[in-house]
Amino acid sequence: MLKINNLHVYYGGIHALKGISLEVPENKIITLIGANGAGKSTTLRAISRLVSASEGEIIFNNEDISKLKTTEVVKRGITLVPEGRRVFPDLTVLENLKLGAYLRNDKKAIKDDINHVYEFFPRLKEREWQLAGTLSGGEQQMLAIGRALMSKPKLLMMDEPSLGLAPLIVQDVFEIIKMIHQEGMTILLIEQNAMAALKIADYGYVLETGTITLEGTGQELLNNEQVKKAYLGE
């Protein structure tokens, strides 16, 4: 579904991605793990075209999207749940969700999808009229995921959804990711919480300072000595 070839990204003089290649097949959960500053967020930002790649291809359903505008990428069906949630704090929960559907015109279907999101996250329904900025961290994360689902993506990219959440809530978040996946969603997941991510992932990549150093199925990486040492704290 998504295929990245030899992707390079610079921030001014900083060479953040040094020619990475990876693949996200349909209906799979793919995870990208790595330490802080490895370039995980940059990868997702490059796919969403929030930053420009200086070299390389991003092929989505047989089309090179590496020169498109972000709006166009979202229209093609790739939506990012940004790092740090970034809900719109002074808008209500409902308004946040409607914004996720910004590029859609099918009013009736949007309404159904809002209800569908509320089935996933009953807490959001209770707080429909609350300002998003007044939600707890976990609720904001659910809203950020719900908002992204409202764009009806084919590929959902999540940037550290468990960041800064209490352990119990982290479990919930991973449960939700599994549930969304079971409905047929393709997911590209970034995590520092490597253990939890690899457990639910079909395939994983390890990113170190802008280069992919390891890849394998979730199980393989979980059993890999290097990964165990560096990311699983064993």
Partner: protein, 356 residues
Amino acid sequence: MKRKIITSLIIIGIVIVILILLQNTLGNFKLRILNLAGIYVIFAVSMNLINGFTGQLALGHAGFIAVGAYTYTLLVMDSDLKSMNFFLEPIVPFLSSVHWPFLPAVIMGGLLAGLAGLLIGAPVLRLRGDYLAIATLGFGEIIRTVFTNTQSITNGSLGLKAIPMPKSFLFIEMKNAFTWWVWTAVIITVIFHFLLVSSSYGRALKAIREDEKAAEAMGVNIFKHKVWAMVISSFFAGIGGALLASLMTTIDPLMFRFTLTFNILLIVVLGGMGSISGSVISAVVVTILMEWLRFLDQGFMGLPEIPGLRMVVFSTLLLLVVLFYPRGLMGNEELSWNKITKMFQRFHMQPREVRK
């Protein structure tokens, strides 16, 4: 939705009734203040769109108002009036014989101001915060400087005098036709902005204000939205400018200095950035207060005449309001029946209803 429409109709009805009563009872001087208040409502609401709802600190409003005012004036003046005004240097031939009726001239004022908004917005809206403020402020001043120096089009610093006022409203001749025009424009402006900010387009503008990057990630085309907000905002500024020219009956470039933008910004901040009803209330109250405070300048209670005392008192009041209500009168909420009833409940010291 249905309830909203009914509420709006009721409010419009009330405004019309109040207008009928006021324009029959108020003297000319007070009617003029009423008209000025309406024009400031248009200025404040339109500025709120780009500054309050979209969160872009754009300070070129005075420039767009000037474009509207001059366009209107040059279109409605007949050739006799023009030759009377342009005595230093004659007006360019293609403008000398143009003579439009009131309404088309006002609309053209808005359109050209909107075009100016597009031409200025497109290059500068890529900037943010302070940079945007400085760039728009600069462009506003550039418009004014251009108007000062194009003697054969604008009559330069001499300004334009004896601008005619409309004598009829919707083809009906009446005494206070201008008041009806102004407040019709006010109602249209307010309703248009209400509909706009509660549409999905308006939601996108608010999202840009809240978190530009996140809005972009949701597929909102940031730049296009900002430019559109600017064009709409300057269109209405131009409409207001045209009405202002008509009310003042004379205009000159000095009227459109940065202080005009600043006064409107104060009204917007006082009313609440992101609240249309806040801007409406604030514009009316401030305009009336500024007139009422005039007695301060003229010496009172044995004090000598101190020109400018009005501004000192006004600024102090403003400071107090900003200190105690940092988000303005309304914050970014709108006036609603719920709110009004709640306010009364508070007056009666009843326990407030807990929000569900």
